[in-house]
């Protein structure tokens, strides 16, 4: 029974048609009651009419029961006029049609608007070029795909303040401002914000700032329209140069990388060459140092040698001198050709020399 009431409620018909129907229903009930039963027993017929009326009234009253899901809120209208009552989750009663009307909407859900692209069935992304292409402050063209996340903040305002053709592709019916009103305001905000910035700002450096600026402007516009929509996030999903110029933008990125890499190679050269040069310098100075030490040590050694010799020599000069001389001769003479001459015959020395050797020994 309860389910039946609920289902009756959920298929609430339009009001004016309803008046007709009810009227017809009453008429039928009356005439049916009279023709069908009245003829047999007028006493029953007398009670029948109020009984039918009471049953009808009870059923009609019962259709005023309605349930609000945990994610929903319901707005109540009495005779077309919004009561300013919003009902939260649970079972409620309100005047059934035609006196009352209840409008429910999911308010906890975060909804999403896509600008510049659409997510098709199965998650396939489709570009919407004319929405995405816009002019930046430095008169460049840029493709921006954007996502707006929002929810219904004020259901009363959402339902009754703004006319909207709706957006069937997103499942938004006529009269709900998150249809074209939201799209209009988003496009106006985004393009104004982008128009105030340079293409590089939007592309890379200040994407965040652009998002925040768009969100603030969009919320301001929606608030001025009293849409009851609360913007949660504006996200620049995909910002890129148009296809026609993408190659050149990419080349700038590549050039930046090239610049880095050529500088890095120079830095690598620096890191490689400087230590080597310092090592070589150390090597050269160390060699020189070694040479210096060597020279000094050698000199000291030889000097000491001489000193030692001299010391002994001074003790017995003549003998030592003679000994040194003879020792030297012993050492030298075995390896050379020797001629012994008597000093008296010195004048005719030449005749002893073989002529063929004179040239080699003459010097």
């Amino acid at each position: 029974m309860k389910n039946k009431i609920l289902s009756l409620f959920q298929q609430r018909p339009q009001q004016e048609i309803d008046l007709d129907e009810i009227f017809a229903k009453i008429k039928n009930t009356f005439s049916g009651g009279l023709n069908g039963l009245g003829g047999f027993n007028p006493r029953i017929g007398k009670f029948l009419i109020p009984l039918i009326l009471i049953i009808f009234l009870v059923i009609w009253t019962a259709t005023g029961l309605y349930r609000v899901e945990p994610s929903e809120l319901a707005a109540e209208k009495l005779l077309g006029s919004f009561t300013n009552n919003l009902r939260g989750p649970g079972l409620h009663w309100f005047w059934p049609s035609p006196i009352g009307q209840v409008q429910k909407a999911v308010v906890t859900e975060t909804k999403r608007l896509e600008v510049g692209f659409r997510t098709g069935p199965g998650g396939a992304l489709q570009d919407v070029g004319e929405e995405a292409l816009m002019i930046t402050g430095d008169l460049n063209l840029i493709d921006i795909q954007l996502i707006v996340q929002y929810r219904i903040g004020d259901l009363g305002a959402y339902l009754y303040n703004v006319d909207d053709p709706g957006s069937p592709d997103r499942g938004i019916g006529e009269g709900f401002p998150d249809g074209l009103t939201l799209l209009d305001a988003t496009e106006a905000s985004l393009r104004q914000v982008v128009g105030q910035r340079s293409v590089d700002d939007v592309l890379t450096a200040n994407k965040e700032a652009a998002q925040v600026a768009t969100l603030i402007m969009l919320q301001d516009i929606l608030d001025s329209y009293e849409t009851g929509i609360e913007i949660l996030e504006v996200r620049l999903q995909n910002v890129r140069p148009p296809d026609e110029v993408r190659e050149d933008f990419d080349d700038v990125v590549r050039a930046r990388v090239d610049k880095e890499s050529v500088i890095n190679s120079a830095l690598a050269y620096q890191q490689d060459q400087l230590p080597k040069a310092r090592g070589n310098a150390e090597k050269v100075t160390n060699a020189a140092q070694a040479y210096k030490e060597e020279r000094i040590l050698k000199a000291t050694g030889e000097a000491n040698y001489f000193n030692s010799l001299l010391e002994e020599y001074t003790k017995s000069k003549s003998v030592t001198r003679q000994r040194l001389y003879l020792e030297a001769m012993e050492e030298i003479l075995p390896g050379v050709k020797k001629y012994v001459l008597d000093p008296e015959n010195q004048g005719s020395l030449l005749q002893f020399l073989p002529l063929n050797e004179s040239s080699s020994t003459g010097s």
Partner: protein, 318 residues
């Protein structure tokens, strides 16, 4: 039974009149009550309302914020450069009587108001430069930092926002002028898009392309500049390091030599003659053997003087 039928008959007639005279004005509506086409009164609030049956009719008006999507128009700016302006209008019906008299319905309103707004936009666009229409100064502070763009209002250049406000003011003046007096108020006009016409687009792309090419070239040249700078600095440093080390090496060698000479000299000066003697003998040892040297010795030399006699006179006197 007859009595009952009379009651029913009365009820049916009463119901019919109630149905004819009672009507509901919705939250989103207002209603005009017309008698033979002439407006009697306006119901501006929602709820259950009355009218005279049969002779009075009702006409409903949307009292929400209504939307007009203005058609895209190509229009010249101050410098005769064309921009394609896509705008929308939000308006409200304030006076249903005037609205009904002048515009009759929303469809007519859309084209009439749309045209007025377009001509206002055309006027304002023609008075401004392209950059002013596209760009502007943000009027907000975000996170305590004022976002500043190249185009400012301080020196009298209006922003896009400012332009749309001019359009709004102009359009409102037009719709409420004595000629029109539509009974509406335009709450907002926004330029959704100000785009280049297709014919200009290609030259914009060309400009963008060359701008980027210059940028890429500049980056690469800067890279090369830094590369050469770093490398030459490295080379310079290496040269200095090498030269310094050579300088030090030579100085070391020099001081080594000097030290050695000093040590030698100090030792040798004690008896130069003895040094000459010993050093000469050393030189003999090194130079004479091993070659085809022929030495002619005198038989009365110190070495050979004993060869002929064990007692030469002049030997030990020296």
């Amino acid at each position: 039974m007859r009595k009952l039928q009379v009651v029913i008959g009365v009820l049916v007639i009463a119901g019919f009149f109630a149905f004819q005279s009672l009507f509901i004005v919705q939250q989103t509506e207002s209603a005009a009550i017309l008698r033979f086409g002439a407006i009697q009164r306006i119901e501006k609030t929602a709820g259950l309302k009355f009218k005279l049956p049969i002779i009075e009719e009702i006409q409903r008006f949307d009292n929400r914020l209504l939307r007009i999507d203005v058609r895209i128009e190509s229009m010249p700016d101050k410098d005769q450069q064309f921009l394609e302006i896509d705008a929308y209008v939000r308006y409200k019906i304030l006076d249903p009587e005037r609205f009904l008299l002048t515009l009759r319905d929303e469809i007519t309103a859309q084209s009439r108001i749309g045209n007025i707004v377009i001509s206002e936009i055309r006027r304002v666009v023609a008075a401004n430069e392209q950059t002013t229409i596209i760009g502007g100064v943000p009027e907000k502070q975000v996170g305590g930092v004022t976002l500043v763009s190249a185009k400012t209002t301080e020196d009298g250049i209006p922003t896009r926002e400012f332009i749309t406000r001019q359009v709004l003011a102009g359009a409102n003046a037009a719709v409420s002028s004595t000629d029109n007096n539509f009974g509406i108020v335009i709450s907002d006009v926004r330029i959704k898009a100000a785009d280049f016409p297709l014919s200009v687009e290609q030259s914009v792309y060309t400009r963008m392309r060359t701008e980027r090419q210059v940028q890429a070239q500049k980056l690469r040249a800067e890279g090369e500049e830094e590369n050469l700078t770093i490398r030459s600095l490295v080379d310079r440093e290496i040269t200095i390091i090498r030269a310094t080390s050579e300088k030090e090496a030579n100085e070391l060698r020099g001081t080594g030599e000097a030290e050695a000479i000093k040590i030698f000299a100090a030792a040798l000066e004690q008896d130069p003659e003895f040094y000459t003697f010993t050093r000469t003998l050393e030189a003999y040892k090194k130079t004479l053997p091993g070659t085809d040297t022929t030495v002619v010795l005198s038989s009365d030399s110190d070495l050979l003087k004993y060869l002929e006699t064990p007692n030469p006179q002049n030997s030990l006197e020296k």
